[in-house]
């Protein structure tokens, strides 16, 4: 009997069960029918919550506003190397060009073909100052951004650069954690790496005092933008 089967048999014996049960247990209590909050209300709540966890939220802005904001950020912080992940709902036109014209090195991530390209993108990620990506979903109740990894959307983009700018489409801000998990769905969770990001990285390991900026990004900026 393989080790696996033996352990399962041990567990079954411990539970004194001889046959698997067919019962389906649904623990989700029927939710009271409440009117869905408006998009504006969700954006407002999301903005508040992001700021409460130490992030910065530019609120609901236009594409032009986003370009201006990023340009100002790059200038004021002396940002030199930027990596942009592939979008979800649509690219922000002119963003990469605007950033390049400031003299920054901009890499718009594309699908790689082969180990050499992979190594090159990894190197760029490790050296970057700013990572820009569009989140798939956001949670209004907690100020969380949900990023599903894919070929041109590496997880490390929201991990390695010290500053992150994450955009979210207003219609993709959902009220609760349960809503977003359901929206992503079982199939996507089974096939993709997913990260839920709530504020910049932090620790309380020294005397339980909160320090922001540990291994993940130290600065998290969000913007609600329709692409």
């Amino acid at each position: 009997m393989s080790a696996l089967h033996k352990i399962i048999a041990d567990v079954r014996m411990a539970l004194e069960r001889t046959a698997p049960s067919a019962a389906n247990h649904d623990h989700t209590a029927p939710t009271a029918q409440v009117a869905a909050p408006s998009t504006h209300a969700l954006v407002a709540q999301f903005t508040r919550e992001v700021e409460a966890v130490g992030g910065v939220c530019w609120g609901w802005i236009s594409r032009a506003g986003l370009n201006d904001g990023v340009t100002a950020l790059v200038r004021s912080d002396g940002i030199r190397r930027i990596v942009i992940g592939a979008p979800v709902t649509g690219a922000i036109p002119g963003l990469a060009a605007a950033l390049s014209s400031l003299g920054a090195e901009v890499l718009s991530v594309e699908k790689i073909r082969g180990d050499e390209q992979r190594a090159a993108v990894r190197e760029a990620l490790a050296a970057s100052d700013l990572g820009i990506i569009e989140a798939d979903y956001a949670i209004a109740a907690t100020g969380t951004l949900c990023v599903i990894a894919a070929a041109a959307r590496p997880s490390a983009l929201t991990l390695l650069p010290p500053t992150n700018l994450i955009t979210i489409h207003p219609q993709r801000i959902l009220p609760t954690l349960a809503d977003v998990i359901a929206a992503i769905g079982a199939e996507r969770f089974a096939r993709h790496r997913v990260a839920f990001i709530t504020g910049p990285s932090r620790t309380a390991d020294i005397e339980k005092m909160i320090v922001v900026g540990v291994h993940g990004p130290k600065r998290l900026i969000c913007a609600v933008v329709e692409s």
Partner: protein, 464 residues
């Protein structure tokens, strides 16, 4: 009784260490305030606790089915899955894998399960360097200590202690400021992260429906460990499996609120398997090691089984009057505090046999536990088991405790009579008067000197 005199010696020393007590009170007090705030602003908290508990009851009750389903799905996702009957098997697998893959450095996300199996010494013995990357774990690793709390490993250290440690070991100028210390650790660990060949993490939950491992954290070291190196090992206790994706939110809504007073931790990571051929990051290989190491023994005992519901939030440690006085090292095992006292005797045997007795049974742990584990009931059950399962059997306690028990029995007889109590109070007040300083008696003579060795006694007031 096995382990008792050692535990009592270490505990007594810890209790007399006022500096340690100050640090513990400070840190645990802050935690409790955060928890109270976050619970107050979340009206559905108790409802979610109830739901989470029911899901755990179901999960543990169907553990064989769920493990089979989980393993099938993980394999379908491209993971290599192995089940380790005990710590030695788990160590062997992981060290063997590291050797085969030519691993020189292992970056470790915070995992109490890897402490349980004593993985680090095994890696070191094989010439492989394990580097703890959680800041608290990194700190205790530099001090060559074990963690003293299951989620805040360096809770027993002050910022000055850590400042001195970093100055000695990282070659930086001494500073006690948490910001600067954290920045120094970030810098040092970043290059290690980028070059390590293998990451080892634990898992908070394993979803049978999707074959997804869920890892929560605040620092980002879990993400690094599970994303950048070419090989990932996830070591999980078998009790971590839950049935459906839809179950997860009930746990996430209560876990961070209770562990740290946050709504959600900074990162919730979902690991499904190795990277696709066209992906830039993610490990080439994902190995999931599912650990028994005594959990089937807990499963077989209907009372102990409840201990498997534990989410490892650490809240019970922060409210426990015993833990708050003696700290984690006194327990002598990786799992400390109330939950440690009920699982450690099963997982670690005789060296933890005394721990169920190191409790006042006040029940604060049961109150705060997010999945409502009845820890005092299980403690009593463990005591019963330890005494041979016979309620009438007398337990041989060390002599100082027997004497205290006799004195308290005599006091109890007096206390039942109001007039005798009043007389006793007056006598005590008269006798205590010369010993009293600022309302406390810090040293009592004779048979009572043991009491005041580690406690200050409130001076009795006689009512006129």
């Amino acid at each position: 009784m096995a382990g008792s005199s050692e535990f009592l010696t270490v505990a007594e020393r810890a209790v007399a260490d006022l500096e340690l007590r100050r640090k513990l009170e400070n840190a645990t007090g802050r935690h409790l305030n955060h928890v109270a705030e976050t619970r107050a602003e979340f009206p559905r908290f108790d409802e979610e606790r109830e739901t989470a508990r029911r899901i755990k009851e179901e999960s543990i009750g169907r553990l064989d089915e769920l493990l089979t389903a989980l393993i099938d799905r993980l394999k379908a996702n491209g993971c290599k899955v192995t089940v380790a009957a005990d710590a030695a098997e788990a160590r062997e697998y992981i060290v063997g894998l590291a050797r085969r893959r030519g691993v020189r450095t292992v970056v470790k996300g915070k995992s109490m399960t890897t402490e349980e199996i004593e993985l680090n010494p095994a890696l070191t013995a094989a010439g492989i360097q394990p580097v703890e990357t959680d800041l608290g774990e990194y700190i205790v690793q530099l001090r060559r200590e074990s963690p003293s709390h299951i989620i805040t490993p360096a809770i027993h250290l002050s910022r000055e202690d850590i400042g001195r440690l970093f100055a000695e070991n990282l070659g930086i100028a001494y500073t006690p400021e948490p910001e600067r210390l954290t920045a120094a650790a970030r810098e040092r660990l970043r290059s290690i992260f980028l070059n390590a060949e293998m990451g080892v993490t634990g898992a908070n939950f394993a979803i049978a429906e999707t074959g997804t491992l869920v890892l929560v954290e605040n620092e980002g070291n879990g993400r690094y460990s599970s994303t950048w190196p070419q090989t990932l090992v996830v070591l999980m206790g078998m009790e971590k499996v839950i049935p459906r994706l839809a179950d997860l939110s009930h746990f996430l809504e209560i876990l961070a609120r209770t562990a740290t007073g946050q709504k959600l931790t900074c990162y919730t990571n979902f690991i499904h398997g190795p990277r696709g051929a066209d992906e830039i990051d993610g490990p080439e290989q994902v190995h999931v090691v599912i650990l028994d190491n005594g959990r089937t023994r807990m499963l077989a005992d209907p009372v102990l089984r409840e201990a498997l519901y534990c989410l490892r939030c650490g809240a019970c440690l922060n409210v426990c009057p015993v833990y708050r006085r003696i700290g984690g090292h006194a327990y002598g095992v990786p799992y400390q505090g109330p939950i440690g006292s009920i699982v450690s005797p099963v997982l670690f045997g005789t060296r933890a046999a005394y721990l169920p007795f190191a409790s006042t049974l006040c029940g604060a742990c049961r109150e705060i536990c997010p999945v409502k584990i009845d820890i005092p009931r299980i403690l009593l059950h463990q005591r019963w088991l330890e005494s041979g399962g016979n309620h009438g059997a007398s337990i041989r306690f060390p002599r100082s405790i027997s004497r205290t028990r006799r004195a308290l029995t005599r006091f109890a007889r007096m206390a039942r009579h109001p007039r005798r109590m009043r007389l006793l109070n007056r006598a005590m007040a008269l006798l205590a008067w010369p010993l009293e300083r600022d309302g406390y008696i810090r040293r009592m003579p004779g048979a009572f000197r043991h009491w005041t060795r580690t406690r200050d006694f409130r001076a009795p007031r006689s009512r006129r």
